[in-house]
Symmetry: C2
Subunit: 445 residues, 2 copies
């Protein structure tokens, strides 16, 4: 129980879905924070472009401004929360808040995924901190776990479902047998997908989170541009059904592994065993495996987005900073960002098993040149399955490979595309070796 209380003033820039959640969480929990932690947490000033939003959230007119400069310029504000997203003026908000000696809490994964080294250096030099729990996994406290509870470990793998929109779409495709376009349209109607769904369905959002999490986990700089990225637009109902028959499930995974050849960082549709914990994560929920050499496999599950879950992460960061400020403890500056200490491994060096679905000309003798193309590239086939979807002209054939190298599989695909017998290479989906995530972990006594 706290013996003293102290006021900590917060400035909030952006009152959208998450900003509104933050304003509400701070208002509704004020008395709890006071009694449990001795922190009188006050939303001193909020800014947004629409004044009516402030009224809707119960923010008094004197605590509202349409100009974010008013927030960072307020000398009584200790912590600035940046929730407008995008590059500009978010970058300028970071710069001026840091220059004014204020800590910054942000959920801006796009910006932090690319520029944490620049912003982190600024903060380190100014003696303030940047907190970004909400930028990776919404309400799931994975950043905190990597920075604190799991620090005894050499981390081996971060892998999981890092985007709720795509998991919602894939879950509905699987449960209802629908195709991507139909579910996307419905998801947009229901508010689970944006009008412009690119950042989600093409993997940008998950790649930003992979960059942030792998930088923290592996103590080396990984930016969003380093992360190989492939979205879910090409995943079909037929692939999902085939996966199910083979005992697999298709998820858009973000994966980062520390390997002898460098950091393997990628986002792509992935087949995983149907009895794997990640296969049970449905709808808009997120889950991340964090595998350490001592702890082995851990997984963190929760809402990856949404007003209140994301606000939980933002206000959690605010309270951590406020606790230091209120107790008079010097929080110390942001540590200087880790430089790049490990190379990024090319996707071409990935070794895994592959699922390849071809649309082929439906006649005797088609298979011979196709199989030869695999053999020519040194890719070994483990199973072939012709689907019953023929229209008399073409039909689908699924090939599973033994472990192969990505660059060889790409050569196979190029060769197949050139064959008269092949109408198209319809799908190439990597089958993830989930056991490899724990390679290098200690054996227990």
């Amino acid at each position: 129980m706290p013996s003293t209380t102290r006021t900590v003033n917060v400035g909030l820039i952006g009152l959208g879905t998450v900003g509104g959640g933050v304003a509400r969480v701070i208002a509704r929990h004020h008395d709890e924070y006071l009694s449990a932690y001795g922190i009188d947490l006050r939303l001193k000033m909020a800014s947004a472009l629409e004044p009516e939003r402030a009224a809707e959230l119960g923010i008094a007119p004197e605590a509202f401004t349409t100009d974010w400069h008013d927030v960072v310029a307020d000398p009584e504000i200790d912590i600035v929360i940046e929730l407008i997203g995008g590059d500009h003026p978010a970058t300028e908000i970071f710069e001026s808040a840091i220059a004014a000696g204020k800590h910054v809490v942000s959920a801006n994964k796009a910006l932090l995924g690319r520029r944490i080294d620049y912003l982190g250096s600024l903060a380190a030099q100014a003696g303030v901190q940047i907190r970004c729990e909400a930028a990776a996994g919404g309400g799931i406290p994975i950043v905190n776990a990597l920075e604190h509870a799991l620090v005894a470990n050499g981390m081996l793998t971060i892998a999981g479902i890092l985007n709720g929109t795509t998991n919602y779409i894939l879950s509905r495709m699987a449960s209802e047998g629908l195709d991507f376009d139909d579910v996307l349209a419905d998801a947009q109607r229901l508010g689970y997908a944006e009008a412009d769904p690119t950042a989600d369905v093409d993997g940008f959002d998950a790649a930003s989170k992979v960059a942030i999490l792998s930088s923290i986990a592996f103590h080396t700089r990984v930016t969003t541009d380093d992360v190989y990225m492939q979205g879910i637009r090409n995943v079909s109902a037929a692939d999902i059904e085939q996966a199910r028959e083979m005992g697999y499930c298709i998820k858009l995974l973000g994966i980062a592994r520390k390997t002898a050849e460098g950091i393997d960082a990628r986002v792509h549709p992935t087949m995983i065993p149907a009895d794997h914990m990640l296969a049970g994560v449905s709808g808009a929920m997120n889950a991340v495996f964090a595998v350490g050499d001592a702890v082995g496999e851990t997984m963190f599950y929760g809402a990856g987005a949404g007003s209140f879950p994301t606000a939980s992460a933002v206000v959690g960061d605010v309270l951590e900073l406020a606790n230091g400020i209120a107790s008079g403890i010097d929080l110390g500056p942001e540590p200087e960002p880790f430089p790049r200490t490990a190379p990024i491994r090319s996707i071409e060096d990935l070794e895994t098993r592959y699922y390849i679905r071809l649309s082929v000309v439906d006649r005797v003798g088609t298979l011979a040149p196709v199989v030869a193309a695999f053999a020519d590239a040194g890719v070994s086939i483990s199973a072939i399955n012709q689907l019953r979807d023929g229209d008399g002209t073409t039909c689908s054939v699924v090939f599973l490979t033994h472990t192969a190298r990505e660059r060889d599989v790409q050569r196979v695909c190029s060769a197949l595309e050139a064959l008269d017998e092949v109408a198209s290479v319809a799908s190439v989906i990597r089958i993830e070796d989930v056991d490899a995530w724990s390679e290098g972990a200690e054996e227990n006594e």
Copy 2:
């Protein structure tokens, strides 16, 4: 990247499975901690009763003692790790380490589950801290999440699989159709269960963890004695098979909920839907749901025991303390333990659905007095199913109830036991309303 380094000396008392893991983790990661955090973490002195264990772990003779007093008396030691378990001399180790101004890290859930108020007060008065991440959920960083990342929330529920031995036994009973005694014997042979399995199979271990986690989550004192406890000895293969047919799975859950009538804290075999995330947690793994009013449902999954996972939690706590010591930041004393601010709700006030399996006399007319016993106590039946296990004399009949109050169900069972038609009340298993775990959470925009 750290700019300065500082030595932090650790004393370790107990070199059993977990203590050995801690010694190995500290030795193997020394250089990583130095380069990543600027902490030169040294095992200055270890104590155990068997000197040969020190040699086995590569601990130099001058850093070993058979007398734990040597460890707490060493003025160069900043942090004492207590890993001997039990009440004595563990209590004396806490007392003398705290009196000597040293922080204490411990995995002693039995002691902390009952006496954290006493030990926490000692630490608060002495200006040192007690850390116990390893006491609840082995390597799963749930204590840290409740104390830091989730602090913005009013916590609603902590519920999960908190004991690996019982989850291993129930998983094998389910997958192999075996009875409890057979799996227990095999688990003991394989080292998954102790020679004296009481603490695990009767629920004491899980109850200690419920006490620790609910005290932290709800900011009120809950001790192990407050937690209703029922183990898995009476769960039969027949119950597991019946559950499966009904779409359920049986798990030993530890559950703590904040309700209007007080803290509902209990450990017992529980039926949960087969598609629930906890149903997918098999073998010796643990998983805990932590539900907050802002974040909604989160779940933490990992190894609940074992040498290295538990060492991960212990050394994580050590590094957090060491980081403060090395940076010269005053960590502040342990906060005074929360007093009891909410009553403990009696198990008799629980309202849920029940699965009741009776062994009844196999003849016409048996059902009428049985059904009357339910009606007399005001417990409404939702389904009756006679199993095909009759031996000509008796057979099993399963009753499912609508939501009923525990005390009424106990009255039903007493009345049934007294009937000539009932050979025995073979099983009473609570069907958990998992949706109620999120009651009180915010609705997202």
